[in-house]
């Protein structure tokens, strides 16, 4: 295979003329440049366009109540949550919650998002020591906590927030825009193909303290 490497690169070198990267200024659509006041509205509008459900939660401490409501509505008895300290520190009395990665029989999953993107109402979740990737895909109902101050205008600012300039990206970065769907049978759109059929975003409106 090292032979193939040399062979392919040599062929490319003879066929092309190198040039410097033009360092284009980023071409960011206007709706990815909302002002601070419009950012949350843009996120909500686009997330709902992508068929996510938005639940506004006034303060982080109220997350367990909001989760309990979602579980009741979906008729699900328990939930698996990412072992993030902020979640573990909440008072979960009355909610059957365990912390860890998802298994096949988990019907609901909970995680705090790394960021949101206003431009397309997209959630940004990263793999890590306390954030398993499978939890984003195995459960039927995916509940994601997003703090308003973590909403970025556009993809470009998300990369900066993830530290792409200085370090290595996490192994997996998931951009999630709505619940799982398929149109593979006669082009009819149906929800819940392999991933969650319902995506609930708990949007925390509190100001950073």
């Amino acid at each position: 295979m090292t032979l193939s490497r040399a062979y392919i690169l040599a062929k490319i070198k003879t066929a092309t003329q190198p040039s410097a990267h033009p360092r284009w200024s980023a071409l960011i659509p206007k709706r990815g440049q909302a002002d601070k006041a419009g950012r949350t509205d843009m996120f909500v509008q686009e997330a709902e366009y992508g068929l996510a459900t938005i639940v506004r939660v006034p303060v982080f401490e109220k997350v367990p109540d909001a989760v309990a409501n979602v579980l009741r509505e979906c008729n699900i008895l328990k939930i698996k949550a990412a072992p993030q300290t902020v979640l573990q520190n909440l008072n979960w009395s009355g909610v059957d919650i365990t912390f860890g990665n998802a298994t096949a029989d988990d019907l609901a999953g909970l995680v705090v998002a790394k960021a949101g993107v206003a431009e397309t109402g997209t959630l940004v979740l990263c793999s890590g020591a306390r954030t398993p990737t499978a939890l984003n895909f195995l459960p039927d109902v995916h509940i994601v906590v997003l703090r308003e101050q973590d909403i970025q205008d556009n993809y470009e600012t998300v990369w900066q927030a993830l530290g792409s300039d200085t370090g290595m990206l996490p192994r997996t970065v998931n951009w999630i825009t709505g619940p799982s769907r398929t149109a593979d049978i006669e082009q009819t759109m149906l929800l819940g193909a392999h991933g969650p059929r319902k995506l609930v975003i708990l949007l925390i409106n509190e100001k950073p303290g």
């Binding site: 490497r5 980023a26 992508g50 096949a104 793999s127 990737t133 499978a134 470009e156 990206l169 192994r171």
Partner: protein
């Protein structure tokens, strides 16, 4: 020994395939519904939601032009970064070598089953047949791919592989293959079908030894691969097994994360009218030591398969393609003959440019001729590939190779001789108009009665 693994082409049989498709009323209805009222309308809606769409197309084209000019440098940068992130890069010069690399990796972990995310490139290298020959079970997990795998059919569209199959046919297929389920269950609703496939595939996701995906983009600066899906199958494929193999061709490279952003703003919008696919996933290397899950091993197979032969040549621009499927969705020929008639992996206008390169002009000379030169493919291409121009190049090459032969060739030569002599051509056109009128009701039924004189006579006569 080099493996020859790419699927057997049936392009020489295009005319029979086209006749079969035209005679299939169900397929014709489905094509009309899914293209005009489906993909085409959705793209228009997606475009209307983003005023900067045209500017983004220009930028996307420029990104691709620049990347191809410096492809070797970006490939090397990409390789270094994948290795830094704990992954391995395998260079494959052709289909056989790519399959061999993948078989060796599977052998290394004694793999019995492999889950697969939707990937046209693994169709191109004929991977499933090779896996099966080694006793490894490949399981397609995209719903459309799963359906056609059960039916043992090739995909008929690059982003909607089971596009040609009705829900009744899907129900029959599931009844036949999902033997554990009750035979008389109600499968009339698509929702039930999706749910059944979800349940069947869940267990397979969890027990697979290796997950194989394609890659929509490969980002040089960070050594990152990107896949986009709506179902989430590609993510279960790459996060549950202990080995993830991604197969990407060399032209999928983009220099920076920001460049990928630009292309992602166009890809789903042009393909399905979505702002983004539901799941856009960026993967860099293997699981980190402290990560809760993810693949212990990550392998990136970089495939050339003679794409480097296209660089710098007349067909160079086809390497800009990001496989959105828009040219296919807007092609009037594809809209009547569907995907299987094209006889190889990539159908529609993009296929008619790629296929002759991969399988040879002797096999595929009919494909570039299955085109009305209407130009809609070029109009909708997000990276502004002049597809009709490239199809014309293949027509020229086919003619040089002796296609078409016989009377058709003679007729073309006569026409060419006339077309080079404007005066004579005009006289012949007048004669044809006269002749057709003279024939009256004896005219062949598909030729309309001439309305007035020739175009040039009417134009010179003041009609404009």
């Amino acid at each position: 020994m080099t493996l020859f693994s790419q699927p057997n082409p049936q392009c020489h049989d295009f005319l029979n395939g086209a006749h079969d498709a035209l005679a299939n009323d169900r397929l014709q209805k489905q094509l009309a519904k899914s293209l005009k009222d489906g993909f085409q309308k959705k793209r228009l809606k997606g475009m209307s939601r983003l005023p900067e769409y045209e500017q983004l197309r220009d930028r996307a084209r420029d990104i691709k032009i620049h990347t191809l000019e410096n492809l070797d440098l970006y490939l090397e940068q990409f390789e270094t970064q994948v290795i830094n992130a704990g992954g391995q890069v395998h260079w494959a010069k052709d289909d056989g070598e790519a399959c061999q690399i993948i078989l060796d990796i599977c052998d290394g972990v004694k793999a019995k089953t492999v889950t697969k995310g939707k990937s046209m490139i693994t169709e191109e290298i004929g991977l499933n047949a090779q896996l099966k020959a080694q006793g490894i079970v490949p399981i397609e997990t995209d719903l459309g791919e799963y359906i056609i795998q059960l039916r043992d059919e090739p995909p008929s569209h690059i982003i909607a592989p089971a596009f040609h199959i009705s829900k009744e046919q899907v129900a029959d297929t599931f009844r036949q293959h999902h033997a554990d389920q009750k035979r008389d269950r109600d499968l009339s609703e698509p929702t039930t079908l999706v749910h059944e496939a979800r349940t069947e595939l869940r267990a397979k996701f969890l027990s697979a030894d290796v997950g194989i995906t394609g890659a929509n983009f490969l980002i040089a600066e960070s050594g990152t691969g990107v896949i986009v899906t709506n179902e989430g199958n590609g993510d279960l494929t790459q996060s549950l097994p202990s080995v993830h193999i991604a197969v990407g061709s060399i032209e999928k490279i983009v220099p920076t994360l920001e460049d990928a952003d630009t292309l992602l703003r166009l890809l789903a919008r042009t393909a399905t009218g979505q702002e983004l696919s539901v799941y856009t996933t960026f993967f860099s290397g293997a699981k980190r030591t402290t990560d809760m899950d993810g693949p212990e091993q990550f392998h990136l197979v970089l495939l050339d398969n003679r794409r480097s032969d296209l660089l710098g040549g007349p067909l160079h621009d086809v390497l800009r393609c990001i496989r959105c499927g828009a040219c296919i969705n807007h092609c009037p020929i594809y809209g009547k003959v569907s995907g299987h008639a094209y006889g190889w992996v990539y159908p529609g206008p993009i296929g008619s440019i790629l296929t002759p390169h991969f399988v040879g002009v002797d096999e595929a000379h009919l494909l570039p001729n299955a085109c009305t030169m209407c130009g809609r493919c070029e109009e909708v291409c997000p990276v502004r590939i002049a597809l009709p121009k490239l199809l014309r190049i293949w027509r020229g090459r086919a003619f040089e190779a002796g296609y078409p032969a016989g009377l058709q060739r003679l007729a073309l030569k006569i026409w060419a001789a006339l077309a080079k002599r404007a005066g004579l051509y005009r006289w012949m056109a007048r004669l044809s108009v006269f002749g057709l009128r003279l024939l009256g009701p004896l005219r062949p039924y598909h030729l309309p009665k001439p309305q007035g004189g020739t175009f040039m006579d009417r134009y010179n006569g003041g009609e404009k």
